[in-house]
């Protein structure tokens, strides 16, 4: 494949086509939803937290471009089983590293939407700076 693969590496496409942890999560203790008004990308994130320490379950729902949806899927794999404190410490660099692709300003908004939703769900209103 050509240079398109810079952006759409197999890993991204794999997460997009076979999203991990996608679906509803009845009995979730934390949840949040956000959308990217300019793009129409949407992500909802739901989590179960054990004893307010450990994120035992996480699921997302959403629609949008491959970048936003793959980013959401990847985020769930990162967060699952993590301590809430560690999840709170996740920053944009962590996500960009996980995605492992060069992103233009317009696509950055897509990539960081799921992280924004995570922060919202964890009650941390600080924007990740999209």
């Amino acid at each position: 494949m050509s240079a398109s693969s810079d952006l759409y590496q197999e890993q991204i496409l794999d997460h997009y086509k076979h999203p991990r942890n996608k679906g509803p999560l009845p009995g979730a203790s934390l949840q949040a939803r956000d959308s990217n008004p300019l793009c129409g990308d949407e992500v909802t994130l739901r989590m179960k937290v054990e004893g307010s320490h450990l994120i035992s379950e996480v699921r997302f729902e959403g629609r949008g471009c491959a970048i936003s949806q793959a980013s959401a899927s990847m985020l769930t794999t990162i967060v699952k089983g993590k301590a809430v404190r560690d999840a709170e410490a996740l920053d944009r660099d962590a996500i960009l590293k996980a995605l492992g692709i060069p992103l233009s300003a317009a696509r950055l908004k897509c990539a960081l939407l799921p992280l924004n939703v995570l922060k919202l769900a964890l009650g941390n209103k600080t924007d990740v700076g999209v």
Partner: protein
């Protein structure tokens, strides 16, 4: 016909006039298919604005010295060129604004919010309008109590003309419609709509942002009372737009911007207005922009708008034929290129439009993705977004071929 080689335009010669088209994007030839957002500019236009700044930059209308005389002459000369381009009766019917958006707001404020529109008066729009022909009318509703109504489209993207029978009433004061949709490419029957508006005693406001660059326009035969368009979409500079107004309609219109140039006399607390069109051009205008637009109009006039239109029909016909050969791609808007300008909205099954645009970008192809500032239209189709390719005088069937190869690549990536 298979390819657009038989076109009336000499595309290679035209391309040679556009410096940006010689740029490479990641080693690939730039294939610019987003002229509906903004067009590229020929050397002639770029040179005209440079020449203004290098040789005769001065403020217009009031200076006695040589530079000011020259600047005024060229600025007013541009007004005459634009008037001739749209077949206005007089240059005094041409007002320079900064954009279509300002032009439409000028009408909404000047004829609506601050003008003759009263509570209960009705304004009839359509669902296919650009946001710039939606939001200004909300203001008139909010501040004057006008009532807003919308004509729907059929599934092919044509206005349901029969709805005007019902929607236009004795209370209708404004009928507003785009001459050409920036998503579907639909060319609307302005003449017929203006006629119905006039029969009801309403004025017809035409958003020609997507029409002026691509179709021959004769405001007199159309019967438009107001008609708006932008320079930057028709080979001209950014920051310059036009509002044409029928003289009677302009006389009923209050100025939008108060300030220098637009007054006859100012005293503490009171003022009277200058003549039309200056009344509507408060402040120092975009002089370089107007002069550049004048040269853009020269360029298009030299090509002949009939030839521009014929060329774009050919390219669009070819693009429709080709895209339909690719399974899993949907297009929106009329199929008959006689009803459609060179705008091609499409989606690919299983691929978000942003991903289409990103992958095409890697191939050097510029297309737009999103709602195209036409959210009510997207809602009508229940779509979050589409990709959109749009064609202009510098595009030809080669560009279409590159686009089709790009679309196939998108499908491969997402296979």
């Amino acid at each position: 016909m298979s390819k657009a080689e038989k076109t009336l335009l000499n595309v290679p010669k035209i391309q040679a006039d556009f410096p940006i088209l010689h740029r490479k994007i990641r080693g690939k030839r730039l294939v610019y298919l987003d002229s509906a957002a903004t067009s590229q500019k020929p050397r002639q236009v770029i040179d005209a604005t440079t020449d203004f700044y290098m040789r005769y930059n001065a403020n217009v209308h009031r200076a006695i010295y040589e530079l000011g005389e020259e600047a005024t002459r060229e600025y007013e000369g541009a007004r005459e060129k634009v008037a001739a381009f749209i077949h206005a009766r007089s240059p005094n019917q041409v007002i320079f604004t900064k954009s279509t958006t300002e032009a439409l707001n000028l009408v909404a404020y000047g004829y609506g919010l601050k003008g003759p529109i009263q509570a209960g008066d009705e304004i009839v729009g359509t669902v296919m309008e650009h946001h710039s022909n939606h939001v200004p009318w909300h203001f008139v509703r909010d501040h004057k109590g006008a009532v807003l109504k919308y004509v729907d489209i059929d599934d092919e993207g044509n206005l349901r003309m029969e709805q005007y029978d019902e929607l236009i009433t004795k209370r209708t004061k404004i009928v507003t419609v785009s001459m050409c949709s920036n998503v579907l490419g639909t060319i609307n029957p302005i003449k017929e709509i203006a006629k119905r508006a006039h029969e009801a005693g309403a004025v017809c406001v035409v958003d020609a942002a997507q029409a002026a660059p691509h179709l021959p326009i004769d405001v007199q035969s159309l019967g438009a009372d107001f008609l708006a368009f932008s320079g930057h979409k028709m080979l001209g500079p950014t920051g310059i737009g036009v509002l044409y107004g029928e003289t009677e309609a302009l006389e009923a219109t209050e100025p939008l911007l108060g300030g220098g140039e637009m007054i006859r006399e100012v005293h503490l607390g009171r003022a009277s207005w200058n003549d039309i069109p200056y009344r509507f051009e408060g402040g120092t205008p975009n002089i370089a922009g107007a002069i550049g637009l004048g040269v853009a109009v020269d360029y298009l006039t030299d090509l002949k708008m009939e030839a521009v239109r014929a060329h774009e029909m050919e390219v669009t016909r070819y693009a429709l034929d080709e895209i339909h050969r690719i399974p899993g791609v949907r297009t929106y808007g009329p199929e008959d290129v006689k009803q459609k300008a060179g705008v091609l909205a499409f989606t690919i099954d299983g691929v978000h439009p942003h991903d289409i645009a990103s992958i095409l970008d890697v191939e050097g192809i510029c297309v737009r993705s999103g709602h195209h500032c036409a959210q009510p239209l997207m809602e009508r189709y229940d779509l979050p977004a589409t990709a959109r390719a749009s064609f202009y005088v510098y595009n030809d069937s080669d560009d279409v071929d590159v686009l089709m190869a790009g679309i196939r690549k998108v499908q491969e990536v997402f296979a």
